[in-house]
């Protein structure tokens, strides 16, 4: 050791350097950086997805006053309720019918637009997107005025051509049709724009080759367009199925679940049972029923997408 103590200081500095190096090495690890980078996303998922989901599960296991653990009682009572099974049927009927119609109309519109020259296409694209851009609660209110039980403007127009009045919201089948119509009107443009983007990405050479081989327009659609769009169709259908299944505002504004609960879907019924009737655990149990159904759909759709991707690789 030197008289001024430099050796000692040097020793301390090297120890510090050693420590800093370890920290630096830790910080420089790819896994650490990746973790830090994903931390905000993880926080969002935990805070806005995992926690509410876990809390909903917890709530569904409580008694009505939320003072004691009730196990699976809320689910058992739902299984015993005629109304609940009716709601389950209606939710599936509504979601499947609406998604099939939206996908079909969107697909047709996308094809129509695809064949319009770019200049005019922009104008049509903008106009056709309007229903999707308007807030659904607002546009549904417009539809409600048109379907209004007593003063329906649609009925007024039908009367002009001597068609008898349609009880749009008063009869359960008409009410279901009205709800599906509004949902399709709002949602079809989303499919249209997604399918249009997918159509534009299909290489023109494939169509040319098919034409040289003598393929008809249906064969070109069947063997070129559809396989090339299969993934986007699957993903959009899945996405729309989730959104449609959880739809609330259209039913709430148009029918409030009536007549006789015959237009309720899971979300509107969960709100009625949970918030309006003051039975939050039962409402949570109703809303949780959407999860396994949608999880099953997501599993099969995503598996088919993965398989197709592997086949293409």
């Amino acid at each position: 050791m030197v008289a001024d103590g430099s050796h000692a200081l040097g020793g301390m500095a090297s120890r510090d350097r050693g420590r800093a190096n370890a920290m630096q090495r830790f910080a420089r690890r790819r896994s650490t950086i990746a973790f830090l980078m994903t931390l905000p996303l993880l926080a969002i998922i935990v805070g806005l997805v995992a926690y509410p989901a876990a809390y909903a599960i917890y709530l569904s296991t409580l008694n009505r006053r939320m003072t004691a653990f009730a196990g699976t009682l809320n689910f058992e009572l739902l299984f015993e309720s005629d109304t609940f099974w009716m709601v389950a049927f209606q939710s599936c009927f509504f979601a499947i019918t609406a998604v099939v119609l939206k996908a079909s109309i969107g697909f047709w519109l996308a094809h129509m637009l695809h064949h319009i020259p770019d200049k005019g296409q922009r104008k049509w694209r903008g106009m056709l997107l309007v229903p999707w851009v308007i807030p659904p609660a607002l546009s549904t209110l417009g539809w409600w005025w048109m379907f209004d039980p007593s003063y329906s403007s649609i009925n007024w127009l039908l009367a002009v051509i001597s068609v008898p009045e349609v009880p749009w919201l008063g009869h359960h089948w008409w009410a279901r049709i009205a709800i599906i119509m509004v949902n399709v009107w709002i949602g079809a443009p989303f499919f249209m724009i997604m399918y249009l983007a997918a159509l534009k990405s299909v290489p023109e050479q494939l169509y040319e080759a098919a034409m040289i081989d003598g393929a008809s327009s249906f064969q070109r659609l069947r063997y070129v367009t559809l396989p090339m769009m299969a993934n986007i169709i699957s993903i959009t259908v899945l996405f729309s199925l989730i959104v449609t299944f959880a739809n609330y505002d259209i039913v709430r504004v148009l029918t409030n679940g009536g007549p006789r609960d015959l237009t309720h879907v899971f979300a509107s019924y969960a709100f009625q049972v949970g918030i309006l009737s003051g039975n939050i655990p039962r409402g949570a149990a109703v809303s949780l029923f959407m999860f396994p159904i949608l999880a099953l759909c997501a599993f099969f759709v995503l598996r088919s997408v993965t398989r197709r991707n592997k086949e293409q690789m």
């Binding site: 008694n63 009505r64 006053r65 009730a70 009682l73 809320n74 009572l77 015993e80 309720s81 005629d82 109304t83 209004d148 039980p149 007593s150 003063y151 009880p167 919201l169 008063g170 009410a175 029918t255 409030n256 679940g257 009536g258 007549p259 006789r260 609960d261 009625q272 049972v273 918030i275 309006l276 009737s277 003051g278 039975n279 939050i280 039962r282």
Partner: protein, 453 residues
Amino acid sequence: MAFDGMSRRDVLRASALATVAGGTLAAPAVHAQATTTLRCGFWDHWVPAGNGAMRELCAEWGEKNRVNVQVDFITSVGNQNLLTIAAQAQSRSGHDILSFPTWEPAAKYDMLEPLDDVMGRLTAKYGPVNAAAEYLGKIRGKWVAIPAVSGTQMKPACVRFDLMEQHAGIDIRAMWPANDTRGPGADTWNWDTFLTAAEKCHAAGVPFGMPMGSFTDAVDTVGAIMASFGASMMDREGKVTVQGNAKLKTAVEYLVKLSRFLPNDVWAWDDGANNRALISGRSALIFNPPSAWAVAKRDAPQVAEKCWTVPVPAGPEGRFTPYLPYFWGIWAFSRNKGPAKQLLEFLSERTSAEKQTNTSNGYDIPPFVSMNNFEVWAKEGPPVGTVYNYPLRAHHNATASIAMAPAPAEFAVQAYQQALNTKVVARIAQGGETIDQSLDWLHRELTNIVRGG
């Protein structure tokens, strides 16, 4: 110098006196500054001036008591008020005082500050409140919320007297004049007379506008009709009383018969549809507070001047008027319970109640029977006296009714919100079920509710 003759002790004494005197003189100024802030969330009134009255009353009380009263108005549109109550109950934070719709005091009774002391003083001063308000606000022997004036409504019959006279031959104004007497034929104003009149008006193209869907106007009216037949679905102890209930069967049969003479789309009507039916001149009668008449006064004065509010028809077991009250409650987690109680007592006093009723054009109904004589109901028009019979008056011989009573509130609210009473009728009249099938369904639904606790 002035200090020359003073000892050190004198100087200290003088300065101490000066400090005390200064403090005492300055005290009013110090106390004049409000140190307590009371946060209130009141119902956002349909009538715009209704909020102004509440704001003024709160400001007046706050000034007198040196309390800073913050008032928020929470709309019931989109059930925003219910969502706010649910959120504050979950987080145990929020307003000190909140307006609770009909069933919420019962739903949140263990989270609300008991108000027996306030209600004790008010009932000593003004007499009892109506029975329906007590059923909804007094839970397990304790007042958990005070029946409010602002937002509370009755739903008697609002009749187009010209159409009623023309098509059904009933002079409704003579029957129920704008004074405390029963006119000729008032004793025959029962559900049988009503059914006959409904048939005639239906045939004439101006059917009675009685909703039969799942909204409150429908549930309340059907509930009042069932009550007047002595029909209940559940007793006070929470026992389902559907099977073998002859009175319930009679009431349901009556409602099925009546529904044939209503517009064929009443199963989808919301709370605004009956108002629109009256205002447009397409209906001869609706069950509603005077809001429909008030809108008609603005939009269709020729209709408004032919409207007359009368009591609901009587049934075999009496006359029951649909009643839909609001309550004012104080959260148990509030830190300002004392001032909150004082404010609620002030808002319930006769002068405050009259101010609320006046500014709402007579819409708001005070819960105290002794207050059913405010001048506003006699003066409002045209025609003058049209809403005289809006509040319950002694000569009506009527009782305020809430659908699903006397079932325990925790079960009744679920049956009410799911509109089980209108659905049991709809399943027969619209769904084609037999009465027994429909009552069996009702029994299962109610049993399910009871099993859930």
